[in-house]
Each structure stands twice: as C-alpha cells, then as structure tokens.
C-alpha cells in the first residue's frame, strides 16, 4: 500500500521500511509482499520487536524518522480509521499521505514535524507491565514455534492480560490459535467492550489537517 508513494518520493531521500508483525513468519507474508511488488524495504518481525522498541499496540502504525535518525513523529496510526463513511476514510488517508509529501519536501520546516517537546508529549508511557508483557509474548512465540502449543498459550495469554491496550498481542494470539482467528467473534466482542470504555480502535494522528472537515 506504500508502493506508489515510495515511487513518487524515492528520489528525494525518502525510504519506506515496513515491518510485518507476523509470528507465523515469512510464509504468512510472502504472498502479500510479492503481489504488491514492493521495491522499498519490507521486513518480517515474528517477535514484535519493533512494537516493543517503539511502544506500538496496533497495525497499521507508523513513525517518522529524519535523516539523522531522530524521531520527528512518534508512533501513531498511519492515517487509518474505521468508519462506514468511505469518503471520510479515503480523505483521512489522502491527507496523511499529503502530510508525508510535505515532510519529505520541507523537512523540519514542515508543519507536521513535531518539536522535541511536542514529540515527547506524544509518547505513550512504557510501563513495567508492558515490558513484562513483551517478555511473555516473546517466550510464548518461541514455544509456539517449537510446537509446544499449550505452554505457548500460557505465556501469550499473560502478554494479553499484562498489556490490554495491545491489539497486536490479542490478534496475533488468536491468529496463532487458528489462522483465521484474529478477526473472529472474540475480536468483535473485545473491540465493542473497549470502545464502550472509551478506547478507540484507531486514534487519528494529531495533525491539524486531519481535524478540518
């Protein structure tokens, strides 16, 4: 889904690095990556290491990193939203892509680049529970690959309980239980329950142009 944007901007010092959060590994993503004919960098992350390093909880999320390796927009939903209004969904998406174009063209002069203080304000807290959740997820994933499925499930469940904000952990666990399990009734029930508690499935990026209707 990033291929067209990458082709448009690749001569301007821009790289797309996608990371597939897929504990089933390369076999789960080879098809989609080959069909998309990607020429940017597509990586596979069985242990959700990038989610740990960047405190991510869902897909798709993105981080903007400048030429010096500095984060100028920390983890946020990459212009996706869930709505029955398809035009609204497309407009949000288009505006998010325009924001990337603006950044690539203007660099730090772009209105979408955060100051250091703003960037820090947009970080979610990384708690001891989140750190322990990632440890449990990692060990569970390893045991799952070894074929020790019931022991794996114990650790994967711990991860989900310790880090309830992580849709990645929940959906990946369901997907490891059954390849079609990540979007099943348990997912819908959980999404509805969390939405009633005021936890949106996708929170829009904090960008002025996304607030304008």
């Amino acid at each position: 889904m990033w291929q067209a944007l990458f082709e448009e901007l690749q001569d301007q010092g821009f790289m797309v690095v996608t990371v597939a959060m897929d504990s089933r590994g390369v076999d789960a993503v080879r098809g989609p990556i080959q069909r998309a004919k990607t020429t940017y960098t597509s990586l596979v992350d069985r242990d959700h290491v990038v989610a740990e390093l960047y405190n991510m909880v869902n897909v798709p999320q993105a981080v903007w990193i400048d030429e010096s390796g500095k984060i100028v927009r920390p983890t946020e939903v990459s212009g996706f939203q869930v709505s029955f209004n398809l035009r609204k969904v497309q407009r949000t998406r288009r505006r998010y892509l325009d924001a990337i174009r603006d950044w690539v063209e203007k660099g730090h002069e772009s209105e979408h680049v955060f100051s250091e203080a703003e960037a820090r304000d947009h970080l979610s807290p990384f708690t001891a529970e989140i750190a322990l959740a990632h440890a449990n997820f990692h060990l569970g994933r390893y045991l799952w690959e070894r074929g020790d499925r019931s022991e794996a499930a114990r650790f994967l469940c711990n991860a989900v309980e310790l880090h309830p904000d992580s849709w990645n952990f929940f959906r990946q666990m369901k997907n490891l239980e059954h390849i079609l399990g990540s979007g099943g009734p348990a997912f819908l029930l959980r999404a509805r329950r969390r939405s009633k508690q005021g936890q949106a499935y996708y929170e829009l990026p904090d960008m002025a142009m996304l607030r304008e209707s």
């Binding site: 990033w2 789960a28 740990e52 990193i65 400048d66 070894r146 650790f155």
Partner: protein
C-alpha cells in the same frame, strides 16, 4: 567436561538474541559469561556496575554473589534490578527482558531505536542502514 545434549543445556532468549548455554548445577539460577550477557542484553559489566552506552547502574548488593569466577548470575542480577525475567523450568528456557525505564528513556531521547530484521528472502536489514534518508517506519500484519 560439558557435552551439548539438550539435558545439559538451557536456551536463553532476549529481544536481541537467542543462545544455548550450559545448564548450571542449580537449575533455578542462570549463570552466563559477561560476553554472553552483553550479547543477549546489550548491558556490559564494568567496575562501576552494569553499563549501556554512557549509563551505568551499580550492582545491587545481596547475600548471594552476583559474580563468581568471571561468570555472572544473570537471574539473580535481573531479579534484584527488578527487570523482566521469565523462566520456564520444565522447558529449560529463560527470557531476559529490558528494563521498562530504559525503554522509556530511549524513546524520550527521540533517537530511533535500531533493529535488525530479515526480508522475505532472509536477508537482514537494519534501520541504521538508512541513515541519511527520511524513513517512514510503518507496520502491518497479514492477520
């Protein structure tokens, strides 16, 4: 002499690495060489304590030793530092996790944490390979 049968070894995992090490006589403790601790966790033993980049934490005191004959009791050290650690005794697997405060400090520095992952051909790439370019780091999943 140590033989490398599964019964005499344990697996040690971390975010960065996965190693097989000899099992200690006390199966409830994980002893590592300083080099293996560094490979797994990025933390290095120095006279001033446990260090990563410029930051050091003093070795916590306790009744039982943390270092003996050039080896580190990683399980004792991680427990005293209250860092994430898991031990599945029946499966002989350990996991040594990174401190939450260290992760938070790293993120607040706004230096993008580096990582190395394979593409679908198995070729490894690091985020730092793209220094000098603007990078959109974007996640997705097949599920």
């Amino acid at each position: 002499m140590e033989s490398n049968t599964p019964e005499s070894t344990v697996q040690v995992l971390s975010t960065a690495a996965q190693l097989v090490v000899p099992r200690h006589a006390d199966a409830g403790a994980l002893w590592l060489s300083a080099a293996k601790l560094h490979e797994l966790t990025g933390w290095q033993l120095k006279p001033e304590g446990l260090c990563k980049d410029d930051a050091c934490v003093p070795l916590p005191k306790g009744e039982e030793p943390i270092i003996e004959a050039g080896r580190v009791c990683a399980s004792r050290l991680w427990e005293r530092l209250e860092r994430p650690m898991l031990h599945d005794a029946a499966r002989s697997v350990w996991f040594l996790g990174e401190d939450a405060k260290e992760r938070a400090r790293q993120l607040a520095s706004l230096e993008a944490p580096d990582f190395t992952l394979p593409d679908i051909e198995g070729k490894l790439h690091s985020l730092s390979d793209f220094r000098g370019q603007k990078v959109l780091l974007a996640t997705w999943a097949s599920w």
